[in-house]
Each structure stands twice: as structure tokens, then as C-alpha cells.
């Protein structure tokens, strides 16, 4: 056959290659981007690579990913290879039946596999975490090993094995000496496939992981909604380049040993090659284990821990570090994207976290369902002294006797718009229904906020559970859907900075940050009124480390800590002492951070809708989302 | 002699800078059973593939029936191939396999049906129409491959080591089968093999190849009895190949003893190689022969005994129906016409073209 590659073929391959690698190149470039926002090139920097060394969260996730992949690969390779060998000794019918079962995790949708395992673990009262993820990974890895080993096993001639048995070798010895060497390449490629799948898996891990445990995938997913921290780009770039180098080296080694072998077919060479491979694999494994031991949260279950579940990017990482240093308490820190997701997690396992930071209406729901612990205020001197009285008063809307919650941040919901793209002054929610801005509008991907906008626009209560009002709001949102570019949460920030959209619904805290990055942006609370919200710390009733949780809350209420936090996350703090300490006058007097009484009087807090109300909203929201 | 059907002239071909065929010239006559014989890597398969159209030579021409077909696509050539390992279409049953070429040519259903049953009858596999290829034995698959090729009524059938994958008994049966087919069809067969026995049994004409060169051409008898060089001698059957000196015409000195021979024209006192077939070495009682020796080894081979005799510092291979036990002191005698004298290769290059490759 013609073995020359024609130019058309080369071009075709190049196009596919470009398609496969364009995103990867993009990520590597982003890892050198000085700006935290992926929408903007802020100059070249190595900072994220340097930060990586200190970013224990990302390193933890990475270590977990590697150790899970390694153990899952080893176990699934052993089980899968043994099964493949054994299957050849079985009846054809049995074999096809077994292969059918084996194929289930491969053919089945990941989402179904993940959910089915999650249900199993729940029913067995398995603590979701390292072990459950590992089991899940082994389960979906086994088929890859078997599908690689079984076909090879079928082609192996039994004569050598039988000869070895004939010479008196015990079966295992005979197997090791005769069949295993033939099988080795297929076992290796099956193992490599299993390892890769394990590293890359997201969906199954997502459903089987518990609290406080993240692999790189789940870590990234939780960050996707609000913009991934650049350290992750840096880490991925390092992994990618490392694997690339390893592959190139092994290819080169193969080519070289191949040449040597063809020149002189000496047994010694073969042996050296073999030993080399074994050493390489062993070295890699040891490196992974060491890394896991150093950074991994895998084996640490110390008593002096506190499991924190906070909204995304809602704390200065240095604050966590300071707390750890001062108290010696290990902080297992998890982030959620929305109150609803937080609720689902906590409802599933009330002991998963020791301290949560939900929003007002969700706290009401938690109280209603008797899921929270009354706080021991004697342990919270800072909370009593420095958090402004008015905020406790507001909090009584959802926590009537101020028994459960310590306010952490507060703010309003409004419209962030780009002055260059929107000429007329924005004063009303109506602007979000203006066809002129089709495809330029970002809506909040959260049920309450989306309906709040629609309800407020019509002058209804933002806590309405009146089916007629909800149905009107639903109609409005469906009508608005074609104009909406995307439903997002914290991504509003990046997209607005990058000029991707003309306007978006956003929390006041984000507005301050985005204005810093793009001065054309302005924040408005529409005249119809809006939501004023309070996020507060609460402790679940079943928390295991309630004492540490109290220490955590009180630590955050220290004025200097609250100030540090405010400057980092830019969400308004209810800590009056901290407010006074803000140095930047513009911010201290900012209308966005600390709106005046008149504006606040137009705003309402969310209250819990009750079960029936939740159902009403959920169904309406599904209708809106599937309207496109 | 019948007319020339295929002419290969000055064919060269290399792969990855390695020369496979070097200026090859070959004429194949109509109705011949021609065998290309040689060790693997000798270029015989490449030659066949060039005739079949699966390779294009780097230089040279392929003339078929007076027409230059060097650049013609395989599907436009009036010849068909039986491939190594059969190359049946595993996704079609036997009838569909055989019908493949006819369907391409848009023959009528009736014609195709007739042809299928004719071909299956010819290869003794009637009733196999609806079996799948994988369910057939190797020998049966081979017959189907042949049937698939011959229904297209080619002028030439190319066979690329067709019996290589079969066991010994089956191979021998198939050899007779192929001779019968050749006679019934009355077409030209070009057959590639590395098995000298196959070649000797079936062929009208044998082309011995090594390292891209034709070493010798001729009838099986010529090739066997009068190998032109040590490679051919060694490759065809067992031989005693001994370095000797041509004293003058019709006299050669082997291991220090002068033997009468029938060869002339090598000059005087010239180094040569001589080939003596094991069955041509006679063992006679001590004193009655030309060279004294001792039997060192003996095995019974059925038709004959195979013995090794140490004589004149050389280990002679001897086939004889008479048993001479180990240790027997014997003399060796060779008739003049059983001594085949060959030129000794003069350079290393020439050597390379000769012995030792397999």
C-alpha cells in the first residue's frame, strides 16, 4: 500500500489535532495570566505556580485524586486480571453473561452509575468520603482492565503453560513464568486506561464523595460556577507537561531499546529494560504515596477538627490559616454553590459539617426542620460585642429569638451594568426585559433570586407563595428567557469584567470587586425594591465538633479578622467595629457596601417558603429552564 | 515453448531505503506452473504483488499479454490472487465470498449461482454456500479462497504461500489438488513459496530467488541436479557443499583427493565449490573407494538411513538404503556425473547473494 501521507491527510490530521489541543493551550496560557479573571489578560506572571506550593486545598484535592487513582488501579487490575484468567476456564454462556454485567458500568451512563452507588452507600449508612469514592472508582475501572486483558488471554497458546505444568511447576508458578509475560502488555495498558479514567472522572466521584473530601474534578466543578482560581490552571499545566514528558521519554526509551535489541538480541538488554520499567513504576507509586501523605486529607481524622461549609470564595484563605495557627484546630473547608445544594447535602448527612454559612431564608428552613443547634452564647463573646445590634434585629426575621445564627455578611441584590453598553440610566428591573439587550443579560442561576426579580418587578412580595403571582412571575421569566445570555452565579463577575454582557443580576459584594477590575461598571438597586440578605453562621444539630465550631465563629467576629475578610471578599460586614476600621474612605462610605436607610427600606429579606412553597418554586423554575 | 504471457523487465523496488528487488527480469509463459522459491525476505512476494498490482515498482515495466500494465490498478488486471492466510471476507458467507467479484462485474443472478456451485464442486466443498468463513478449517478456507479467485476466469492465478498455514498432511493433499486444478482450468499459475519440496512437486518452472536477485531458473530437475551456486544447492534439498580446487577440466581435487567429474571451463587450479547430494555418496568397503572415513552417526528415516561420515576432515551427509553401524570403517565413492562444480564467489558482495540468509 501507498505508505506516503498525502497533504490532504496531513491537513486533516492537523485540524483534528488543533481541535484537541486548542483548549489545552488556552488553559496553559491562562496559567500565566496575571489577572484572576479569565476574561482579561493582565500580563505574564509565575505567581500562580508559586502560590500553588501554599495552596493546601488544591494540593489536597490533587493528592486525593492521585491516591484514589493509584489504589483503584492496583485493586482493579488485580481483580480484573484474575477474573479474565478465570473466565477463560468457564462455559461460553457463563462468560457472555458475566461480560454483560461487566459492561454495565462502562455502557451505563456515569450519572446512573454514580447515583446507584450513592443510593447504596446511603442505605448501608456508609460514610461518604475516601472509601466510597475509591469503591466507585474500582467499580468503573475493572471493566477497562478486563476489556484489555480478556482479548489477549483468548489468543495465548496454552502449550507453554501446559509444558510448564508437565515439568512439575505449580500452577501459579507456571502462570507467572509462561502466561503472565505474554499478558503483561495488555495488563499494563488496561491499568493505564484505568488510571487515566480514574484521574479524569468527575460525575461518579461527584455523587459518591462526601463532605470535606474533594478530588481535583469535584474541586474544579465547585469552582467552575464562580470562576476557577488560577492555581488550578497552573497545577493542570504542570500535570499535563509532566505526563507529556513521561510519555515522550518512554517512547524514546522504547525506540532506543528497540534499536539495541535489534542490533544485538541479548537477554541482558531485555532484563535491563524490564528492571527499568519496574523501577519507574515503583518510583512513580512511591512519589504519589509520599505526596498523598504530605498533603492528603485521606488519612487524617484527627479529633481537633472543624468541618466548615461555606459559600464559594467567601473567606480570605489567610484567615483559615490564622485560625489553624492560633487554635491548632484543623479546618476541613468545603464550599457550596448555592443554598439549595448546601441544604441537600446537610439533609443527607447532618453530621457532615460542624458549621455552615447559609442565607437567611435557608436558615429559616433549617430551623423549621429542626436541623440546627442552639448556640451557646457564652462561648461567643466577640459575636455579642462587635456584631451590630441592627443586624441581629434583621436576623430575627428568620431566627426570631436570635438563638441559632451569627451574621457574617450582608448585602443587597441589584443590577450591575456596563455604562458603555447601556446608555439610559438603569432604575428598574424592567431593563432586564428590554429586547434591545437580547443576549446581553445575565440572570442569577438561583431560584429565589430569579423569582425575586420577577416578583419585585410586578410589585409582589419577594416571598410570595400565591400561586397566581408565582404563575405570573413564571410567565415573565419564560418571556425573558430568550433575551438571557446565560443563567450563572458568581460568573456574572468574570463575564461583566470581560464585557461579555451588558448587564447582570449580582450581589452587592461582587459589585465592589468588579468595579475595581472594570471601571465602566455600575451597580444599581432598582426602584421597585430588592432583596437584602444576611448570611450567617449556624451549627447543625448533629455536628460532631460543635465546640470547635463555636471557636471558629467567634474567631471570625474579631474586628481585625472581620476587616481582613471584608477587604478580601468585599461583601459588607455586619461587624461594626470592623466597619469603622476600614481605611479607604471611599469604601467606608460606599453606597454599595453600606446602602442608606432609604434604599434599605425598599428591600426585604427572604423568608422560608415552606415545603409547599418550595415545591411551587421548584416546579416553576423547571418550567423556566426548559422554556428555551 | 508456449507464448510469453507476462514479462517483468528491469524491475527494482525498495522499502524504506532497503533494496528488495534489484533489476529483476523474468518471463512467464502461458499455461505454466511457475514457482517463485526462496527464503523469506528474498523478494518473491514483492514480485508477486507487483504482478498483482498491489505494489508499484520504482523502476521497470510489467508487460501482460503485450500490454504495459505497470500502472494499472489491481481491479483492472486480468488476474486473481489467492492470498496468504486466505483473506476471506469474514462478514460474508461462503457464497457471498465467491460471488464478490461477479457481483462487482454485474453478472446475472443465475450466472452467479451456477458459478458458485461450479466452483464449490471444483474445490470439493459442495453444500458449504451458507457457512461463514470462520467456521471452516484452514484447508477449507484455502479452497474457498481459490474458488473465489477462479470464478472470475482469470488468465493467471497468483498464489502467495497458500499452503503456509496448513499442517503437513493437508499440505500434501492440497499440492495434488492444485496440480489437478491447474490441469482442469488450463491457466497460468504463479506460485510463491519458501518450501522447496512444494516447488519441486508442483512446478513446471522454478525461479529461485535470494536477496532480490534471481539465483537460478529452470525445471525442477535442473534446479535439483545442477544447482548453479552454493545458495541454490543449499536451499534445495540436503547437500554436501565442499570447498575444492579445479585441477583442470573434468578433474577436481576434493579434500586432497582427486575426483573425476564432468564439468569443464573453470580453468586450472581454480578454487571452486562442489555439491554432492547425500544420496549420491556411495559407501563401499574400505579400499574400494576414493576417500577413507568412519561412520559417526546414523538415523533411520523410513525410506533410507541418514548417516554422517567423517572423511578427509569433513563431515559427509550420506543417504543410503543400506545400514552401516556407527564406527564402521568405510570408503566414499562418488560417480563423476554426481559431482556438481560451482564457481566460488569472489567478493564479499557476491557472497552475500549466496549462502546464509535464513
Amino acid at each position: 500500500m501507498n505508505s506516503k501521507t498525502r497533504p490532504a491527510e496531513k491537513i486533516y490530521m492537523a485540524v483534528i489535532f488543533l481541535f484537541m489541543y486548542a483548549p489545552i493551550v488556552t488553559l496553559i496560557v491562562l496559567s500565566f495570566n496575571k489577572s484572576k479573571s479569565r476574561a482579561k489578560w493582565g500580563g505574564f506572571t509565575f505567581q500562580w505556580y508559586l502560590n500553588l506550593v501554599r495552596d493546601s486545598e488544591v494540593l489536597n484535592a490533587m493528592a486525593n485524586t492521585l491516591i484514589i487513582a493509584l489504589i483503584a488501579t492496583v485493586v482493579s487490575t488485580l481483580i480484573g486480571t484474575a477474573a479474565s484468567v478465570a473466565l477463560t476456564g468457564m462455559k461460553r454462556r457463563t462468560r457472555s453473561l458475566i461480560m454483560g454485567v461487566t459492561n454495565i458500568p462502562m455502557i451505563n451512563a456515569d450519572i446512573v452509575t454514580g447515583i446507584s452507588l450513592m443510593l447504596l452507600f446511603k442505605v448501608l449508612h456508609f460514610d461518604a468520603g475516601f472509601v466510597t469514592v475509591l469503591i466507585a472508582h474500582i467499580t468503573f475501572d475493572i471493566p477497562y482492565v478486563m476489556l484489555s486483558v480478556l482479548p489477549r488471554m483468548k489468543t495465548i497458546s496454552p502449550s507453554v503453560y501446559e509444558a510448564a505444568l508437565d515439568l512439575g511447576a505449580r500452577p501459579f508458578f507456571a502462570f507467572r513464568k509462561t502466561i503472565l509475560p505474554d499478558l503483561a502488555p495488555s495488563i499494563l495498558s488496561g491499568a493505564l486506561m484505568a488510571f487515566t479514567m480514574s484521574i479524569d472522572d468527575f460525575i461518579i466521584t461527584y455523587f459518591t464523595k462526601g463532605s470535606g473530601f474533594d478530588t481535583l474534578s469535584t474541586k474544579i466543578y465547585s469552582e467552575v460556577k464562580r470562576g476557577i482560581r488560577p492555581e488550578i490552571y497552573a497545577l493542570s499545566a504542570i500535570i499535563f507537561v509532566a505526563v507529556l514528558i513521561l510519555l515522550l521519554l518512554s517512547d524514546r526509551m522504547k525506540a532506543q531499546t528497540g534499536k539495541l535489541a535489534s542490533r544485538a538480541r541479548s537477554a541482558g538488554n531485555q532484563k535491563i529494560k524490564k528492571i527499568g520499567a519496574v523501577i519507574a513504576v515503583a518510583a512513580a507509586s512511591i512519589a504519589i504515596i509520599l505526596m498523598a501523605l504530605t498533603f492528603g486529607g485521606v488519612f487524617s481524622k484527627k479529633s481537633t477538627q472543624v468541618f466548615v461549609y461555606n459559600a464559594g470564595e467567601y473567606i480570605d484563605p489567610d484567615v483559615i490559616e490564622l485560625f489553624r495557627e492560633e487554635t491548632g484546630i484543623e479546618v476541613v473547608y468545603d464550599e457550596f454553590e448555592s443554598n439549595e445544594i448546601m441544604y441537600a447535602k446537610v439533609a443527607a448527612d447532618g453530621a457532615a459539617y460542624d458549621v455552615l454559612c447559609p442565607s437567611d431564608y435557608m436558615i429559616a428552613k433549617l430551623i423549621d426542620n429542626d436541623m440546627l443547634m442552639k448556640l451557646d452564647w457564652s462561648e461567643l463573646p466577640n459575636a455579642q460585642e462587635y456584631i451590630g445590634r441592627q443586624y441581629y434585629n434583621s436576623a430575627s426575621a428568620f431566627d426570631p429569638a436570635n438563638e441559632y445564627a451569627v451574621p457574617y455578611c450582608w448585602g443587597t441584590v441589584g443590577i450591575l451594568y456596563n455604562k458603555e453598553l447601556v446608555s439610559a440610566p438603569v432604575t428598574s428591573w424592567d431593563v432586564l426585559w428590554d429586547p434591545q439587550y437580547k443576549g446581553e443579560i445575565l440572570m442569577q442561576d438561583s431560584i429565589r433570586d430569579a423569582f425575586m426579580v420577577a416578583l419585585a418587578r410586578r410589585g409582589f412580595s419577594i416571598n410570595s407563595v400565591n400561586p397566581d403571582e408565582i404563575s405570573l412571575a413564571t410567565q415573565d421569566l419564560i418571556e425573558q428567557a430568550p433575551l438571557v445570555q446565560a443563567y450563572v452565579i458568581d460568573q456574572v463577575r468574570d463575564k461583566m469584567i470581560g464585557g461579555e454582557a451588558a448587564m447582570g443580576v449580582i450581589y452587592s459584594g461582587e459589585a465592589i470587586y468588579t468595579q475595581r477590575e472594570n471601571e465602566n461598571l455600575d451597580y444599581v438597586i432598582p426602584d421597585e425594591g430588592s432583596n437584602v440578605w444576611i448570611d450567617a453562621w449556624v451549627i447543625p444539630r448533629e455536628a460532631r465538633n460543635a465546640e470547635n465550631a463555636l471557636k471558629w465563629i467567634d474567631f471570625l467576629c474579631r474586628p481585625e479578622i472581620a476587616l481582613m475578610n471584608f477587604e478580601y471578599i468585599t461583601y459588607s460586614t455586619p461587624n461594626t467595629a470592623a466597619q469603622e476600621m476600614i481605611e479607604d474612605e471611599l469604601i467606608r462610605n460606599s453606597k454599595i457596601a453600606f446602602p442608606d436607610e432609604e434604599t434599605l427600606s425598599r428591600c426585604d429579606t427572604y423568608i422560608s417558603l415552606g415545603e409547599e412553597g418550595d415545591r411551587l418554586y421548584n416546579e416553576a423554575w423547571k418550567k423556566v429552564k426548559s422554556a428555551n | 515453448m508456449s507464448k510469453e504471457l507476462i514479462t517483468l523487465s528491469h524491475i527494482s523496488k525498495s522499502f524504506d531505503g532497503q533494496l528488495i528487488l534489484d533489476d529483476l527480469n523474468l518471463v512467464i509463459h502461458e499455461n505454466e506452473f511457475v514457482t517463485l522459491l526462496g527464503p523469506s525476505g528474498c523478494g518473491k512476494t514483492t514480485t508477486l504483488r507487483i504482478i498483482g498490482g498491489f505494489e508499484t515498482p520504482d523502476a521497470g515495466k510489467v508487460i501482460f499479454d503485450g500490454e504495459d500494465i505497470t500502472a494499472l490498478a489491481p481491479n483492472k488486471r486480468q488476474l486473481n490472487t489467492v492470498f496468504q492466510k486466505y483473506a476471506l471476507f469474514t462478514h460474508m458467507d461462503i457464497a457471498e465470498n465467491i460471488a464478490f467479484g461477479l457481483r462487482i462485474k454485474n453478472k446475472t443472478d443465475q450466472y452467479i449461482k451456477d458459478k458458485i456451485s461450479y466452483a464449490l464442486k471444483l474445490v470439493n466443498l459442495e453444500g458449504y454456500e451458507h457457512r461463514m468463513p470462520d467456521s471452516l478449517s484452514g484447508g477449507q478456507q484455502q479452497r474457498i479462497a481459490i474458488a473465489r479467485a477462479i470464478v472470475n476466469e482469470p488468465k493467471v492465478l497468483l498464489l502467495d504461500e497458500p499452503l503456509g498455514a496448513l499442517d503437513l498432511k493437508l499440505r500434501q493433499d492440497m499440492q495434488y489438488e492444485l496440480i489437478r486444478l491447474k490441469k482442469e482450468l488450463g491457466i497460468t499459475f504463479i506460485y510463491v513459496t519458501h518450501d522447496q519440496e512444494e516447488a519441486l512437486t508442483m512446478s513446471d518452472h522454478i525461479v529461485v530467488m535470494n536477496q532480490g536477485y534471481i539465483q537460478q531458473e529452470g525445471s525442477p530437475e535442473d534446479i535439483y541436479n545442477e544447482p548453479e551456486n552454493a545458495f541454490v544447492a543449499d536451499f534445495i534439498g540436503d547437500s554436501n557443499i565442499i570447498t575444492a580446487t579445479m585441477v583442470r577440466d573434468e578433474l577436481v581435487r576434493i579434500l586432497g583427493v582427486e575426483f573425476a567429474c564432468v564439468d569443464k571451463g573453470f580453468g586450472t587450479e581454480k578454487p571452486v565449490d562442489v555439491v554432492i547430494r547425500p544420496e549420491d555418496v556411495e559407501l563401499v568397503p574400505r579400499g574400494q573407494g576414493q576417500l577413507a572415513g568412519v561412520v559417526t552417526h546414523i538415523i533411520f528415516k523410513g525410506v533410507h538411513y541418514e548417516m554422517e561420515v567423517q572423511a578427509g576432515g569433513f563431515e559427509w551427509l550420506v543417504h543410503s538404503t543400506k545400514e552401516s553401524p556407527v564406527g564402521t570403517e568405510v570408503d566414499i565413492r562418488v560417480d563423476p556425473f554426481n559431482i556438481q562444480v560451482m564457481n566460488k564467489p569472489e567478493s564479499e558482495d557476491e557472497q552475500a547473494l549466496g549462502v546464509e540468509d535464513v
Binding site: 505508505s3 483534528i16 484537541m20 489541543y21 483548549p23 505526563v243 464585557g499 | 498490482g53 486473481n80 492466510k85
Partner: protein
């Protein structure tokens, strides 16, 4: 197939860890889904969860998921087949290259790769930047079904290429030569021999692209701007947002019907292949 074990019981013992594993972690969990799917909160048998697929918003998300995954599968096939042929023809069988090219991207996390497409496809993204530089018209694809299809094709293309390449590389070159030898031109050879011989590869490629594409929720969330709800998103929300396991399981069972259909088709073709 040869018998390594004269004694079946020994074979059984060797495979027992696997049997146990498959039973506990593959079959039992599936039973759980069935149980949840066919019961309500009170544990009473109901078909309501399954039938809820007929609700307009569920049916719509399923149909849209079907449409997008079929389109993605077809595109993957059309892209992968020629590529497989080029790779097989050039005997890049030194598997190394194939794995290097198509496995390597998997070491960059799946979500990150998809996320990266956001940066590429956005209205002011990288691709539009390049187009603007070349004075070409801009694309507006982010947050549309088109972007989701791109994400699906990108993520699942390797799963189509590998089985197709493997089945192409397995074809004896002489089988192709035989077809040519018997008078078939290149097109006839392709349609009558090459393509039918790679059907098993195509089926496994189609399965490995279609199923994950049908059930994805991450790709649609990221590249569809949460505007486009696929059946995967609905199921995910039932489990993580509205917390209705029964409904989620019921919808999963509906998904499994498609998976089973796909499995049966590939089993039948496998059997045919083995005959």
C-alpha cells in the same frame, strides 16, 4: 478458547473477588435505582416517577438531549472514521502515538477542558478574537445548543476514534487487496468490505459517545449557560437540588431504557460477529 482450568471450581475461586464486587457494587446499586424509581416517599409502588417523563419540561429535556447527542455522535463518527483510516493506513500502529495524541488531553481535567471551551467560544473569546483579527464574521455560539455539541464532540471524540482505529487496524491488508483483486474499485471496496468489517468498532464507538453525551450535565451547564436543560441536568437537580430521589431514580430508569436498547443492539452485532 482453551481450558486453563480442568477444575471449574478453581476458576470460580479465582473469579470470586470479581463476582462479589460485581454483585455488590454493580447489580445491587442498580436494584436500588429500580426500587427508588418504582416507589414513592411512603415506599408504595408507583409508576408516577417513570411516567413523569411525559411532563412537558422533562420530555423536552429528554428530546433535546437525544437530539444533541445524536448530532454529536454523527459528527464524531464523521470526524473519526477518516482519521482512523489515515492512522491505520500509515501504520501508526505503534500505539504510542495514538495514546499520546488522544489519551494525553484526558490528563487535563475534563471540566477544565470544557471550561476552556468557554474561553474559546465566548462572544469576546479567543476564537472571535482571531476571527476579528482576520476580518472575518464573528461567531455567536456560546450558551447555545451548538456550543454544547462542540463540547460533546470534543470530550467524546477519542472514544469514537479508538475503537474505529482498532477495528480498521485489525483488518488484514490482504482482505482489502483481495477485494481490489476481485475487481472492486476503491469506493466499492470501502462500502462492501472495509465499512462492514468495522461495524463492531463503529458500534462500540457510537455507544461510547452516545451514552455519555445523552446523559451529560456538566457540559450543558458550562457551555449552555445553564439555559439549556438536558435530561442529565434534570436528574442531577433531582438529586442535588430538589432532593427527590424517587423522581430522579425514575428518570434514570427512563435513561436506562435507551442504554439497554443500545446494549442489545451491540450484543446482537457481537454475536453475529462471533458466528
Amino acid at each position: 478458547m482453551w481450558k486453563m482450568f480442568k477444575d471449574r471450581r478453581k476458576a470460580g475461586a479465582l473469579a470470586s473477588p470479581y463476582f462479589a464486587w460485581a454483585l455488590i457494587f454493580i447489580l445491587v446499586p442498580l436494584m436500588m435505582i429500580l426500587w427508588y424509581g418504582f416507589t414513592d416517599d411512603a415506599g408504595v409502588f408507583t409508576m408516577a416517577n417513570i411516567l413523569s417523563i411525559a411532563q412537558p419540561e422533562h420530555a423536552k429535556s429528554l428530546l433535546l438531549a437525544l437530539e444533541l447527542s445524536v448530532i454529536s455522535t454523527v459528527i464524531c463518527f464523521l470526524l473519526a472514521y477518516p482519521l482512523g483510516m489515515i492512522l491505520a493506513k500509515n501504520r501508526m500502529s505503534s500505539q504510542g502515538i495514538i495514546t499520546t495524541i488522544f489519551i494525553l488531553p484526558m490528563w487535563m481535567n475534563f471540566l477544565l477542558r470544557t471550561f476552556s471551551w468557554m474561553t474559546l467560544l465566548e462572544n469576546h473569546g479567543v476564537i472571535n478574537g482571531v476571527l476579528e483579527f482576520l476580518h472575518l464574521p464573528q461567531i455567536r455560539v456560546i450558551n447555545t445548543p451548538g456550543a454544547i455539541v462542540i463540547g460533546m464532540v470534543y470530550n467524546f471524540l477519542p472514544f469514537m476514534i479508538m475503537p474505529i482505529y482498532n477495528s480498521l487496524a485489525k483488518i488484514d491488508e490482504n482482505v482489502i487487496n483481495a477485494a481490489r483483486d476481485l475487481g472492486a474499485n476503491p469506493v466499492q471496496t470501502f462500502l462492501r468490505v472495509t465499512l462492514p468489517l468495522t461495524v463492531p468498532g463503529i458500534i462500540s464507538g457510537v455507544t461510547m459517545v452516545f451514552i455519555p453525551a445523552l446523559t451529560t450535565f456538566a457540559i450543558s451547564t458550562m457551555l449552555g449557560g445553564s439555559k439549556i436543560l438536558l435530561i442529565g441536568n434534570v436528574i442531577e437537580q433531582e438529586f442535588t437540588l430538589t432532593y427527590d430521589w424517587h423522581l430522579g431514580s425514575g428518570l434514570s430508569i427512563v435513561l436506562m431504557i435507551f442504554i439497554v436498547v443500545n446494549m442489545v443492539v451491540s450484543l446482537i452485532s457481537e454475536k453475529k460477529d462471533e458466528q
